[in-house]
Amino acid sequence: MNKIAKLFITFISAIAMALVSFSSSFAKVEGEYIVLGSAISLTGKYSSNGVHTQNGYNLAVDRINSMGGVKVGGKSYKFEIIYYDDESNPKRAAQLAERLIKQDGVHYMLGPYSSGLTKAIAPVTEKYKIPMVEANGASRSLFTKGYKYLFAVLSPANQYLEVAIDLAVEKNGGKPVKIAQAFEQDAFSQDVRLGILDAAKRTGSKIIIDDKLPKELNDMAATLAKVKATKPDVLVVSGHTKGALTAIRQIAEMKVDVPMLAMTHCDAAKLSKQHGKKAEYALCASQWHKNLSYKDKFFGTGKKYDKDFKKEFGYAPPYQSAESSAALLVFKDAFERANSFDRDKVRDALKATEMQTFYGNIKFGPGGQNTAKPMILFQVRCKGDTCENKVVAPTKWASDKFFHPIPPWSERG
């Protein structure tokens, strides 16, 4: 090895060591910054929702910082987030959580996107006693493990479509209904399924088709043929966006007539962009809608949030962004009430959270789930070629009447 190479290696290792020592001194609070950490899916299969999550976080950080920051002990601090790309991979997410905590010295975490990745990270944050506020992991199993440092601003997955069954029973004159359901085999969708099972039991309804969909789902013809043959009162589908898109495509092509279609991960903009008017009348479960009348002093109302978000990022915020922004509001509130950077004091303050944000009321139950906010259902309604989400349940927030039953395909243009 010649001299230059040796010099080069010494130089590189010196830089590496400097970086390591620098980053480990990068602790919870650095100067006027409170440093939060988050592993987030910027590449891989969750990358689009990962980006929505990140945009939601960033918007809230900018807003809070520009409106005076977080006041702790009479001093004003600003938020800063260290992001790492978890490649939509749970193993990688867990590694990155370790790295954020051990190398970057982060003491407070924001959640990743999806239940699966939150499940991978939660044991790590729990081990190091790091409070984590997450906005995109709704799986019920996250809240039954007895985690003490996990707080979720969103409603748990089993509540997503329970309302839909109640609605179907109501439309059936209070009598039990026949339910056909198809759920992807992932933590989230299976929890949605458990919610439906509970609702079916409660209302005495019968589940006549109970299909599980594979991860590589792109063909539901068999399930839909069965639906056609058995004529249920309501069809429930949950399989992320691909489930919603596949279902709409094949229901239209196979001319499957069901009086009611309830889904998760459907959104009028997305569905109608791909399918036009074929998506009309679908009922979608949502954590948030801009027309709800919640308010806070940072973002104002949902409508205002919608406008600000559009201005910043050029598209309408999906609920994934809204709930992510709410997570930062929760952190700010907790820091100020704790009036300290002590992790356990912050955790206790988080636990005692009771506040309203533009996204909804937030109060954490014993498992860390948000118990103060109901899920809403909206229905896709189209006028000409433009389709919109119209809130139809619960009645308190409903802006439109629920259209039931869905007209048969022979009468739809």
Partner: protein, 297 residues
């Protein structure tokens, strides 16, 4: 287990037709795989990802306002050059090495393609609309999307065209000669390097057609390539190399098998059933071979 299908004869008809129409499409992908496997002795793990890329080409046309069905002409042309370039960049370095190296190389290509598609087209699920409508049979109890019928017909047309091309054209004869004995073909003046590149290009073009058809019948997503690779692998294993009718029949058989597995075992076991069948066939083939095997001692 669900035996609803045996109680309703119409479901049986529906399942059979769905299965056969899908199977023809699978057979087209499998034929491409059989071709380059036979000629170059390469198992292409990236086959499914080439299919999805072909689909995205049709989808891009659809976004630009062109009817996605034109994808079955444009997509194979573009994909031919993609295949040709892949050969020149990667495959020619592994073509005479052992099978394991080529599997690794194409596996790498598959990952690169998935990430590239994710990067360019995003992780969202997309579909292209053909607006072909639906054919109703038996008083509306059996429905066939016309897009599926279209895709089966186009697959058949291309498959037949390819067979004729392989029989009659100069390149086709050169490809067949190289498949039979590459060394002898070389001695007799066949430019095998060119033949290999063309073969890989033709395979990619077939994937392009299939992809365009999938964009109007099913859904596209950067990460759904693998099931198509597995299906075509399976069809080729059952049918053998270089036997188009057998590939077509085994493709339809697989389509039927999948549909029935879906109805009887449940949708969640659809792909699982394909893998099980694959294991079963491999074991069975080995068993049959071991009976015939002769030893030199």
């Amino acid at each position: 287990m669900d035996f609803l299908i045996f109680q309703a004869p119409m479901l049986m008809v529906q399942a059979s037709l769905d299965g056969i129409l899908l199977g023809i499409l699978f057979a087209l992908i499998a034929y491409g795989m059989a071709l380059q496997w036979g000629v170059m002795n390469i198992i292409n793990i990236a086959q499914g990802d080439l299919v999805i890329l072909g689909g995205y080409i049709a989808y891009t046309m659809y976004l630009a306002g062109i009817h996605p069905a034109w994808g079955v002409i444009v997509s194979p042309i573009i994909m031919y050059f993609v295949g040709w370039a892949l050969y020149k960049l990667v495959i020619n370095k592994v073509v005479d090495r052992d099978l394991f190296i080529s599997i690794l190389a194409t596996f790498g290509i598959a990952i690169v393609f998935q990430q590239l598609m994710n990067f360019i087209f995003g992780a969202d699920v997309v579909v292209a609309q053909s607006e072909y409508g639906t054919t109703m049979l038996f008083d509306n109890s059996v429905t066939l999307p016309n897009s599926k019928i279209f895709s089966a017909v186009i697959s058949l047309v291309y498959a037949i065209a390819l067979v004729v091309y392989m029989k009659k054209s100069k390149l086709g004869r050169a490809i067949r000669a190289t498949a039979q004995n590459a060394r002898a073909a070389k001695i007799l003046g066949v430019d095998t390097e060119k033949v290999y590149a063309a073969t890989f290009g033709i395979n990619a073009a077939l994937c392009g057609i299939a992809g365009a058809l999938i964009s109007i019948t099913l859904t596209l997503h950067p990460y759904v390539g693998l099931p198509y690779t597995v299906r075509s692998f399976m069809i080729v294993i059952v049918a053998g190399l270089g036997n188009l009718p057998a590939v077509a029949i085994s493709g339809m058989g697989l389509g039927l098998f999948e549909e029935f597995a879906d109805y009887i075992l449940g949708t969640e076991f659809r792909i699982g059933a394909v893998f099980m069948l694959l294991v079963f066939i491999l074991v069975y083939r080995r068993f049959k071979l071991s009976k015939k095997r002769e030893y030199l001692k």
